[in-house]
């Protein structure tokens, strides 16, 4: 009978349960998406050329962070569930249900809701993971190996984690409800929040918050000095710093505004600010999480997208755009397709493991190379001539590597044309190509390399240092990183936006009463709506802004990995603003439906 009653309770509050379930699903979905990469060593090893140890440490911290955030999220979800049900359970107790039975009922209800939510989230996660992966790969033309949208260890760990959380939540709920007096369960609507705070303490908290953030930002920039320590230091200081900042500074600003009646007394502004103050107190933790997740998501996408600087670097590191070493294949068709700027031929002969180069061909087109140097700490390249004249006897290694046999000969010599003629060996040619636009001709240049490689596999090693091959390698590394960055970015994004959305919507029942009161004293609907847009808008904007600051400083961390982490930063920001804005619109739409329309 009691179970039947409990079920009827669920039916009658469908809207609230819808909010709860979508919240739970979003949590398990994003958790699964993260684990899908993090628990797949094959994927990490084959796509992330960073050293597996390094990546697994980073992902380890990622899992810990996500677990903490999910845990906080679950506390909110659970509180929402409890507030929804406590009246019903109070009534059952009033009707004579025994405490132990009620405790069991609550425990089971929490667990069942949790399992259903997780299951739905993970199943939806398969689809979303597949779709997101496909979209990224297709849009950016990436190549990804060992990636599975359905990955069993990730499914398993997601379930283990969430079931543990719900066991905990269930035990907590049954303990809490069974201990509370019936009368409290029936009447408890909202606990008054203590609003007084000592101004000196608030000031200290604000300063401490700023100092901690500064330490965190420094730790990110000082990666070279602190190495892997910089991650935990930054993590702790930035999380705590953000919390203090939200807890003190923002509320002080609102209080300050509320004391300026010139500013305060305008239409519904007193109400909007009052709501915000209450909300911020209650939201401090969630806003902190959201700002951190915002930074992680935006950072991941920025880093992901900026990995093309690796490709650019690959391009800058070699001087010539292509090379032809063999006459065994017919390359006329391909060559005619190229937009050639210059074609340079060098003649050479190999006599008993010695390389001889015709000086005349060298003098016509002195060979060049790219030299690596640091420009203001940024990795750069400049063009320089390869000096061969002063080393007529023995040429430099660099010079040797201009020729396919350079890897196997013992030494190389530059000889005048007449002497070159006299050497008893067949004349060989190496032709270097320069095009007007490498990106445009890359497919043809790649084809030229592949054709030659197939015809003469012995020279594969030589090709390793040519531009199309180096470029291809950069592209592959980049694919892994770009994919991972954008994929994780989107997963974090979903997590943070659903978290915020859930928190806002879970406040709807108590807000409904407030909006009704305002309507009774003559506030127009349009005014109520505007107040709501502003209030929720600020709740979205504040962690967003702090998140952006986190990212701008945090990108320093990646300087050793990507030469220009701030390159074209507006692209990820734009993507993010669009997605985040979309979530905001959905939230106010739902909220409007739950609070103002009904």
């Amino acid at each position: 009978m009691l179970f039947k009653l409990a079920l009827t309770g669920i039916k009658s509050r469908f809207k609230d349960y819808f909010v709860l379930f979508s919240g739970l699903m979003a949590a398990s979905l994003s958790f699964y998406m993260f684990l899908d990469l993090a628990t797949n060593p094959q994927f990490l090893k084959s796509n992330v050329n960073l050293g597996y140890h390094y990546t697994s440490v980073i992902f380890g911290f990622g899992i810990v962070l996500l677990a903490i955030i999910t845990f906080i999220y679950m506390i909110y979800a659970n509180r929402f569930l409890l507030s929804m049900r406590q009246r019903d359970y109070g009534m059952f107790m009033m009707l004579g249900a025994r405490n132990s039975r009620i405790a069991l009922l609550i425990f089971l209800e929490t667990l069942i809701i949790g399992i259903i939510g997780t299951l739905a989230g993970v199943i939806l996660g398969f689809g979303v993971t597949w779709l997101v992966a496909k979209m990224i790969v297709k849009q950016l033309g990436l190549t990804i190996t060992n990636f599975n949208a359905i990955y069993l260890p990730a499914v398993l760990w997601t379930f283990v984690f969430f079931i543990c959380l719900f066991l905990l939540a269930g035990a907590w709920n049954s303990h809490k409800l069974a201990q509370s007096p019936v009368i409290k369960l029936l009447n408890e609507q909202q606990k008054p929040i203590s609003l007084k705070k000592h101004p000196v303490l608030t000031a200290i908290e604000a300063i401490l918050g700023l100092v901690l953030l500064a330490i965190g930002y420094w730790a990110m920039a000082a990666f070279q000095k602190l190495m892997l320590w910089s991650i935990p230091i930054a993590l702790v200081t930035i999380v705590v710093g953000s919390f203090f900042l939200f807890d003190s500074l923002l509320i002080s600003v609102i209080d300050w505004l509320r004391h300026r009646h010139q500013i305060l007394y305008h239409r519904l502004r007193p109400f909007t600010l009052g709501q915000l103050k209450f909300r911020l107190r209650d939201y401090t933790r969630i806003l902190t999480c959201v700002s951190i997740l915002f930074a992680l998501a935006l950072g991941a996408i920025t880093v992901g997208i900026n990995f093309n600087t690796l490709k650019e670097q690959a391009k800058a590191s070699t001087y010539y755009d292509g090379v032809i070493t063999t006459s065994k294949v017919d390359l006329h068709k391909e060559l005619s397709k190229l937009h050639l700027k210059k074609k340079i031929d060098y003649q050479y002969k190999v006599v008993s493991h010695q390389l001889y180069v015709n000086e005349q061909t060298l003098a016509a087109n002195p060979p060049k190379t790219q030299i690596f140097y640091l420009k203001n700490g940024v990795q750069s390249y400049r063009t320089a001539k390869i000096n061969y004249e002063s080393k007529k006897g023995q040429s430099s290694e660099e010079f040797k590597f201009l020729f396919p046999e350079g890897l196997v000969v013992t030494s190389s010599h530059v000889v005048p044309a007449a002497q070159f003629e006299r050497l008893k060996a067949p004349i060989k040619n190496v032709t270097y190509l320069q095009v007007h636009d490498f990106d445009q001709d890359y497919p043809v240049l790649k084809k030229i390399m592949l054709k030659q490689q197939r015809a003469d596999p012995s020279q594969t090693d030589f090709y390793t240092f040519t531009k199309p091959v180096v470029y291809q390698l950069g592209l592959n590394i980049e694919s892994g990183f770009t994919f991972m960055g954008i994929f994780l970015g989107l997963a974090f994004m979903m997590m943070l936006a659903s978290m915020l959305m859930f928190k806002v919507l879970s406040g709807a029942p108590s807000d409904k009463i407030r909006y009704q009161m305002l309507s009774k004293i003559g506030a127009r609907r349009s005014l109520l709506r505007r107040s709501m847009y502003q209030e929720i808008g600020l709740l979205f904007l504040l962690p967003g802004l702090l998140g952006v600051v986190h990212v701008l400083f945090g990108l320093q961390f990646f300087k050793s990995l990507i030469p220009q982490p701030y390159h074209e930063i507006w692209i990820p920001f734009l993507i993010f603003i669009l997605l985040y804005g979309g979530y905001y619109l959905i939230t106010i739409k739902l909220y409007d439906h739950l609070v103002i329309k009904s």
Partner: protein, 250 residues
């Protein structure tokens, strides 16, 4: 003289056509004159809440008309209704209906800010009404930290700060202890006498009703009869009221 409120033959029927219908109001008519304190009494289910909802523009009658300050409020559109409420009507509810996230001062100022009155004029108006209701000392406190009686005074201040044409009170003493209730009623009577604030109070409590000049009795969706205080003292009026209740409940 024009009445502040003119109610003509209003009916209210719940339930759609063809389904089982229930008529909560069956043709109610009365007038409230300027400066009058009128109480509407009735048992639960008599239709007094429905009547109050219609008078306060929160609900529409099925037929009939309600004029407040010569304006037919049954013909207003949504925004007009909201504006009308904000301008012409002050409310006091049984459960206070204060916004818990605003201080008493902000709660009182709200009807003024909603009407777009400049900030400069708001502070003196709030101080003025707060002095009259003796709540100056608690203006910067939140509803959660003040007593029920104080809450209702704050609610009354909010209802009166914009000088509405009529004050509608719905069981204003329902959630108060007897002392607070008496104090609130005395204040309302005083405001009515000194400031000529027009009051319409719905209640089922004879003691509260005895503070009015005239009492309308509502029963089964109709006004059954009324009694007028005239020149008699409140104590005699109270006795007459109890007698009237004794006869009507038979």
């Amino acid at each position: 003289m024009n009445p502040v409120m003119n109610v003509e033959e209003i009916t209210k029927t719940y339930g759609k056509k063809g389904e089982k219908q229930y008529q909560a109001l069956k043709g109610v008519s009365f007038q409230v004159q300027r400066g009058e304190f009128v109480a509407v009494m009735g048992a639960s289910g008599s239709g007094k809440s429905t009547l109050l909802n219609i008078l306060s523009t929160l609900d529409r009658p099925t037929s009939g008309r309600v004029e407040i300050n010569r304006k037919d409020i049954t013909q207003l559109r949504k925004n007009q209704m909201a504006d009308f409420r904000g301008r012409e009507i002050g409310f006091i509810f049984q459960e206070f209906n204060l916004l818990d996230n605003l201080t008493a001062r902000e709660n009182i100022a709200l009807p003024l800010t909603l009407r777009g009155i400049s900030a400069k004029r708001i502070d003196p108006l709030v101080t003025q009404i707060a002095t009259k209701l003796d709540i100056m000392g608690i203006l910067d406190q939140y509803p959660v930290s003040i007593s029920g009686g104080q809450k209702q005074r704050v609610a009354a201040a909010r209802a009166l700060v914009h000088e509405p044409s009529i004050l509608l009170a719905d069981e204003p003493t329902g959630a108060l202890d007897s002392n607070s209730a008496r104090e609130l009623l005395q204040t309302m009577a005083k405001l009515n006498q000194d400031e000529h604030v027009c009051v319409l109070m719905v209640t089922h409590d004879p003691f509260s009703a005895s503070y009015a000049d005239r009492i309308l009795f509502i029963k089964d969706g109709k006004i059954s009869h009324q009694i007028v205080k005239g020149n008699q003292t409140r104590r005699f009026f109270y006795r007459e009221l109890l007698d009237a209740l004794g006869t009507t409940s038979d």
